[in-house]
């Protein structure tokens, strides 16, 4: 009996101290990665086997090339990657090297997660949209970018009497509206245009804010990034919102599309699809020569597409930033960039790398996307307020597609964005 009690007490005390020590761990510790010649690299592509393997291959090559530093890869699923970084930053446990979605770079730089890059390679060679800049410093660099395009069957366009748009002569707004009308009248497709509206998340600002910019509006006034008033709720933005809503009310677009836009185009459920360059490979296998890749329509102020994909940065808590910079410089060789771009079906960041990837050479069937990126790409606003703007824009666009009053919806988003910027002291560096 007495023994049983003692054992119980010992067990309870052990359990209690275990819990207490766990709690202690969470709050202790400052940036410790990078000591003893070991660096850790975090990446978002835990669910993407091809990209992860390509990154791992670059790391293996680096580890074999010298014996001072060993880099270790840790992969996370994309959906929980940002949360993991924020949690690690809060407890001072960030690794030396992280990857970052382009538009989030200013936010993380402002929060002092990242340190400005100091590399031995010339970053001027890179597509501008593969560099993450804020306050005059470059904080991140990517191996690749992606581009937006419209995908359709050439035979379908010809049958409906629609001109196949080209990079020099994209569709005007009137042409685009007329094309949708003709396709709808054909009756083959319930919703002829697939904008991928089911993909809630970063897709909304990535895909739809360029349409807003093509109308002449924007997410925020870019001159000082202090207010969205006039940019997101002005006359041009209202025209955009009313046009987006009319796409739904006219029956051209579903307010919630199917889960896989590329599959729907393949199965002839939709006639035109707005999609990323990453869908090109699969679609060209499925449709062959019949596939047309078209630029987005010019809705008034020229064609715009989103720019900025996943990029690499070095954290400010890293114990050995030189080693981290050395790894990044090594990884940016044309061969490495080309290998990653090949594995991910994305646009290589430099001309030298592009020459090594089949399809991206002059006149290759993927070269078009690189041209789109060069000519039309507009970065999402480079401000630490971006994650907030992104969530407000997504919500507002959803409400507009679902029939909310355009002006009231935009005004509400502007009020929230301005309030957020103000409550953060304008997101300036003190």
């Amino acid at each position: 009996m007495r023994h049983a009690k003692k054992r119980l007490i010992v067990a309870s005390v052990l359990a209690a101290s275990l819990v207490a020590s766990l709690a202690g761990c969470a709050s202790a510790g400052t940036g410790t990665d990078g000591k003893n010649g070991e660096l850790t690299l975090w990446t978002h592509n835990g669910g993407n086997t091809e990209e992860l393997a390509a990154v791992q291959a670059v790391v293996d090559k680096y580890n074999a090339s010298q014996d001072k530093t060993t880099v270790k890869v840790q992969a996370f699923p994309q959906s929980s990657y940002n949360d993991s970084v924020v949690a690690a930053a809060a407890s001072g446990k960030l690794p030396c090297i992280v990857d970052i979605d382009g538009p989030n770079v200013p936010n993380w730089a402002w929060a002092k997660y990242l340190t400005p890059l100091d590399l031995s390679v010339d970053l001027d060679e890179n597509l501008p949209s593969t560099l993450g800049k804020w306050n005059g410093d470059t904080y991140s660099v990517g191996y690749y970018d992606v581009a937006l395009a419209l995908f359709a069957r050439t035979s379908v366009l010809e049958k409906a009497g629609i001109r196949v748009a080209t990079i020099d002569e994209p569709w005007t707004k009137d042409e685009f509206d007329a094309a949708l009308k003709a396709l709808k009248a054909d009756g083959t497709w319930d919703k002829p245009l697939d904008l991928g509206t089911a993909d809630v998340g970063e897709w909304y600002p990535y895909a739809y804010s360029p349409l807003l910019q093509s109308f002449g509006g924007d997410l925020i006034n870019r001159d000082d990034m202090q207010s969205a008033d006039g940019a997101l709720n002005g006359k041009k933005a209202l025209e955009w919102a009313e046009w987006m809503q009319s796409l739904v009310t006219d029956g051209y677009v579903a307010p919630k599309s199917g889960a896989d836009a590329a599959l729907d185009l393949e199965n002839n459920v939709s006639a035109i699809m707005l999609g990323g360059s990453w869908a090109a490979g699969k679609l060209s296998t499925a449709l062959g020569d019949d596939l047309s890749v078209l630029p987005l329509p010019d809705l008034g102020e020229g064609v715009k597409i989103g720019g900025g994909s996943w990029q690499w940065g070095v954290t400010s808590g890293c114990a050995d930033p030189e080693a981290a910079m050395d790894y990044l410089s090594f990884s940016l060789s044309p061969e490495n960039i080309a290998d990653v771009a090949k594995a991910t079906a994305t646009i290589p960041a430099t001309d030298a790398a592009a020459a090594l990837v089949p399809g991206f050479e002059e006149g290759g069937d993927l070269a078009l996307f690189r041209e789109f990126s060069k000519q039309f790409a507009e970065l999402r606003p480079e401000t630490p307020a971006y994650p907030f703007i992104s969530s407000e824009f997504t919500k507002a666009t959803q409400d507009i597609l679902n029939g909310g009053d355009p002006q009231a919806t935009l005004d509400k988003a502007v009020k929230a964005i301005d309030g957020n910027i103000k409550s953060n002291g304008g997101y300036t560096q003190k």
Partner: protein
């Protein structure tokens, strides 16, 4: 029938008296004997794991939320949080989305509490009979409860689609006369759709609680009722219903709190849309705190929510108190 009620009460009274008698008389000033002290230490040691865990994961976060609600704390920021007084609350009470969330939650609770409790009681009465196969039905009704809410939500997400199972059924049953709506994408049907699914998922749990209440009602009361010639409805009205009074208040309070903290279904199925028709207070708090990184504002929402739940629980306690 009042004789029956009275006898039930008398039973209860003797029971409490008996309980009081067995409890040792406490004399606090008298120093504890050695074995008493030891017993006390054992008691504390046994309590420790639960107390520490509760403190760590419930009490400390609650206190933190209370403090953070008056600051501009952010999830990501290079600057420490500063005290901003009632700013967060001023913003909250001028935010139309927050009031919409309150309204949605009220709508949800007002429907779900009586419907879920009622259906659960009917199910419990049905399977309380000693006939073959009750275990089977008990298991079937309880299955949705042990299934994760995320899984249930995903399944119903497919069933609610324009061309999903439910609309196909409606189409078949009415021979194509009625076409079902796009349940979750129509502001007028999204909340009812969520309500139906939530009741289906949660009803089994409360059925089991009702069942445990039913089984505490002494069988001799029913025998007495039989002798008095009471039948179906009278047996329920004068024996079952009064016998369930304690269970009733438990069920009322638990369903209400559960309904007010509606979140998982919304997060998986509608993300608060379309047009805020399904957004809830907890969903807004999570959205502000994690997606929009405004920890201070999210804490303010949680604090208001906490006060509301507390008030409603007090009112319910008051209404269901035992009248003497």
């Amino acid at each position: 029938m009042t004789t029956l009620e009275r006898s039930a009460r008398a039973d209860a009274r003797t029971a409490t008296r008996a309980a009081k008698a067995t409890r040792p008389a406490r004399t606090p000033r008298q120093p504890l004997s050695r074995s008493g002290k030891k017993e006390q230490r054992t008691g504390w040691a046994m309590l420790a794991p639960a107390v520490i865990l509760l403190g760590l994961f419930i009490l400390i976060p609650a206190v933190l939320a209370f403090v953070l609600a008056f600051t501009n704390a952010r999830l990501i920021s290079p600057y420490p949080a500063t005290f901003v007084g009632l700013d967060n609350f001023a913003r909250l009470f001028t935010d139309p989305t927050f009031f919409r969330a309150l309204l949605n939650v009220a709508y949800f609770a007002v429907i779900v509490v009586p419907v879920q409790a009622g259906v659960a009681l009917v199910l419990a009465l049905l399977i309380n009979k000693q006939v073959r196969g009750t275990t089977f039905f008990r298991t079937v009704y309880f299955l949705p409860v042990v299934t994760s809410m995320v899984v249930v939500s995903l399944l119903w997400l497919f069933m609610y689609r324009q061309d999903g199972l439910i609309n196909v059924l409606i189409d078949r049953v009415t021979f194509g006369l009625v076409q079902g709506p796009d349940w979750l994408n129509d502001p007028s049907t999204s909340m009812p759709a969520i309500i139906l699914m939530s009741v289906w998922q949660g009803v089994g749990f409360h059925m089991v609680i009702w069942l445990s209440g039913l089984q505490t009602i002494p069988a001799d009361l029913y025998e007495a009722a039989d002798l008095d010639g009471a039948a179906g409805w009278q047996r329920f009205r004068y024996i079952t219903w009064p016998g369930l009074s304690a269970t009733r208040s438990l069920i009322l309070v638990t369903i209400t709190i559960q309904a007010l903290s509606l979140f998982t279904q919304i997060s998986v199925m509608t993300q608060g849309g379309p047009l805020d028709s399904t957004t809830t207070v907890v969903y807004e708090a999570v959205q502000s705190g994690f997606v929009q990184q405004e920890t201070g504002y999210a804490s303010a929402i949680s604090l208001v929510f906490f006060v509301l739940v507390l008030l409603i629980s007090f009112v319910q306690r008051f209404l269901t108190r035992e009248k003497n």
